[in-house]
Symmetry: C2
Subunit: 207 residues, 2 copies
Amino acid sequence: MNTLPKPLARVIESFEKLPGVGPKTAQRLAFYLLHVPQEELEDFADNLSNLKKNTVLCTICKNVAEKDPCPICSNPSRNQSIICVVEEPTDVISIERTGKFNGVYHVLHGAIDPLNNIGPDEIYIDDLLKRLRNATVPVAEIILANNPNMEGEATSMYIQKQLSGISGQLKQKVMVTRLAHGLPVGSDIEYADEVTLSRALEGRREY
Amino acid sequence: MNTLPKPLARVIESFEKLPGVGPKTAQRLAFYLLHVPQEELEDFADNLSNLKKNTVLCTICKNVAEKDPCPICSNPSRNQSIICVVEEPTDVISIERTGKFNGVYHVLHGAIDPLNNIGPDEIYIDDLLKRLRNATVPVAEIILANNPNMEGEATSMYIQKQLSGISGQLKQKVMVTRLAHGLPVGSDIEYADEVTLSRALEGRREY
């Protein structure tokens, strides 16, 4: 590998640090960029360097945004009394893409994961509770949209417990809901795992 | 998608331009970079912006290098009379990694591919012929290490024809060889395609 020019080696190294990018992919991307106009490389470089400089976390919902509060929290046509709790900003994008939700969000930035030393204090759970206590518009519903895995379930359970703990301090009873579990659309029953299929049976609805 | 902050959208766009990176991966990478220290982002940006500024094509072998001539062409312990012709600079890295080749290279930067409007003049074939004619050390062997696919085969055949055309102008007869075709090591005969298996049979060697 002593034949690799340093500028190339450095770009390969940068790509290798990205999640899911191995040495082969990093090399392929770096060599591809050799054929790209310098202008485009500078654009790419500027975009990277400005990524964090020009973004903030919304103080209300903790989503990544250009302005604080974020466009969703400051949108008067969104229903401020329904808060959808998600793990990551990307989850907000996914839910927004459905066009079926007109409430607001709360981004936890992670899930409780004791194996990786992430406890309730490492994610924005306390901020959610504070937000409920201080809400000017009383909150009617909290949708727990955590990921349907071990860490997500643990986080939902923890939040639910905390919510019932502070229910006395709130102006209004808060309904806590969670997303439906069942068969993904377009899937095949034959290949569904038992847990998903059990949940689909339990949650069956009249036709 | 109107909720996506512009600095994020721009980074996603930059990643999406890379080959093999789809919108989902681009989004994942951009959001990952939000958690990376600003310093590391600046490093990444600098590496991209310097990639082409600090590299040149070696005038002898057309490989990407920091200096001209490249370290391989200017290495007195490499055998200048054996030239291995490859399609891409990454192929040089792969062959160097074997540690079995002590000659020099010629990088074509592509293969003849009429469907994509790449003819012999779009890649460095003429430079190879010129290099042979003007060689101070007479060239004894040309190894055609083009990719074993349609475009690579077409390119090899074209080069071979050109070489026999100029053979009268050279100081010495040049032997033209190509890489062996056969079963990849660690593979399974059951899953080998017919062409590979035929080549493996044709090229069988005494044990």
